[in-house]
Symmetry: C2
Subunit: 336 residues, 2 copies
């Protein structure tokens, strides 16, 4: 270990968890991110907290032009590509939200973007990617097939592959959410994070384990798409044959080894939640907080609903990470 | 007129419209307002803009603990009371949102708050005022009867009367929304503001007519509660016998003369909209933007729906001023 020197950031660096991420870079990432994705609302929601017996704090990442948190990481990626000497083109696979984000940030910086998605991906997300001017290629199969195809396109050499969650920019961009949460002086006992590929969980987790190590970092996955959670428990990669969840934003089957390593260093608890709990949490956010959210964004509250005693009396923050939901699906889920 | 001196604020002061408000005080008001109510999201919503043929920008004032913009003004009021030598107690009449705001801000600063409301006021709003620790007195009749009762309570001398919209703090606090909108470099062709008592319209209107005088300031009232709009057209106070609108937040009958004077100096256009347009606008915000809003917050979009040619090709901002809606009412309005 390097000797601890005097500057706060260097002192902090010595105390960072053993991930690929770096607090200094996360602090710098803030400069790359458009104001429209930063300094998002964070506020107490007593209508939910009182029902659960905890202080329930919402960090809202949906009030921006792409209705999800992925803009933070995409801005860092696109800034780097725009500054660099390589091709001004990027290709990514996406269930839809990261693709929207990269399309938005690339367009603003003259970086051409190709998004590969599953033909069964959320149609609202795919349509929006097209509107943002990106090229879209749909493939049979699921997100893992899209990832494979994106790698093939990148191998041709005229576009850089951006693997969401593997690419450090995507994790460190997401990590800026953690900086904002800890800017407030209130203690945070628990942070609830949706767990898919891992960018949100490792990014925000890294910041908390560095600056607020006592905070319980809870990363939540649907039982219908449990590959990363199972890998975390096994401490080595576990893949699954299929996924079966409404939470399309987090439904991967092949966890990325480097991201698992990061997650092992920052997550304290990785519960799996049932589909019914996700729907119940979406309903609660709609009725009590007036929020329309996509299923992935309800994972944190679903975890509280399934295990309330863990959170009772605590100050609990959940990141509402996206609201890109098909209206008809949402209407169906809200019906009793 | 005073000679125009060198400092930007003084220079600007000379160019302010003839209202009771002052840009310097609005700039200072920002310091009094908790971060939780400031620097709110402002973002393009192409899903609505594309449907209307304009650039549609949302300024979202609902992602805070009281789900409306009224915290801005209440923070300024409560700060003044907490600093002053008078009684640390305030009384106000409210349809619910300003009462919540004053209860929240008063609690944070040791100022006792009494809210007088109509017995027929939105039950969700009244319940929340109680949860925030304020005393609530319900009166028969409507908001005008509540205002009368609040004046009686204040006349006893142990609580200061805070008349929403008449009290300059409430207007100037709301005006900080305008400063944030104009902080961005993009031009704004039109600003759409809900018009009730007038705090939002005169506060934001004053800032725009000072710093961006070419922006069309459009203040929208329901045809079922048209007193202030009729007064603006007549250039003198017009009262009505009754109101009949779902937009409970803006349903007054007795405009305040001083506020009308301010409105005459800043408003360019004051349309009245039908109830069906308000519901159609709420549906559009829900379906296309994923926003649950109260009827008052849909007035701006309702005005665009009724008169699309006025806004076509323009960059139009609407302030989503509240989301305190009874869930059952909202569900009913969303059904076709």
């Amino acid at each position: 270990m390097q000797p601890v020197s005097g500057s706060p950031v260097e002192r902090v660096k010595a105390e960072q968890p053993a991930t690929r991420l770096d607090l200094g870079r996360i602090l710098n990432a803030r400069q790359q991110i458009s104001r429209v994705f930063r300094e998002t609302p964070q506020f107490d929601c007593p209508a939910i907290g009182n029902a659960l017996g905890c202080e329930f704090v919402i960090k809202l990442e949906t009030a921006n032009p792409i209705r999800c948190f992925k803009g933070r990481g995409a801005e860092v990626v696109a800034s780097r590509l725009a500054r660099g000497s390589g091709p001004k083109a990027a290709v990514c696979a996406s269930a839809g939200n990261f693709g929207q984000a990269l399309a938005y940030s690339g367009r603003a910086r003259g970086v051409g973007v190709t998004v590969v998605a599953s033909a069964s991906a959320n149609a609202a997300k795919i349509e929006r990617i097209r509107q943002l001017g990106a090229a879209v290629e749909l493939v049979d199969g699921d997100i893992e097939h899209a990832r494979e195809r994106a790698r093939e396109i990148a191998a041709r050499g005229d576009a850089l592959l951006v693997e969401d969650s593997e690419c450090l920019d995507t994790c460190e961009g997401a990590g800026t959410i953690g900086l904002e949460l800890l800017d407030g002086s209130d203690r945070i006992d628990t942070i609830l994070l949706a767990l898919g590929g891992g960018a949100l969980a490792t990014g925000v987790g890294h910041v908390f384990k560095t600056l607020s190590p006592k905070t319980d970092v809870v990363c939540v996955q649907p039982r219908g798409a449990p590959a990363m959670a199972m890998s975390w428990r096994a401490r080595s990669i576990v893949t699954t044959e299929r996924t079966d969840t409404i939470a399309d934003g987090v439904a991967g089957r092949f966890p990325i080894p480097a991201v698992l390593g990061d997650l092992l260093a920052v997550a304290d608890h990785v519960p799996l939640v049932e589909e019914e709990s996700i729907v119940a949490a979406m309903r609660m956010l709609y009725r009590r907080a007036g929020l329309v959210v996509e299923p992935s964004a309800a994972l944190g509250l679903a975890a509280v609903l399934e295990d309330p005693s863990r959170y009772r009396g605590k100050r609990v923050v959940t990141v509402i990470c996206g609201s890109n939901v098909l209206f008809d699906s949402f209407r169906t889920w809200m019906q009793e």
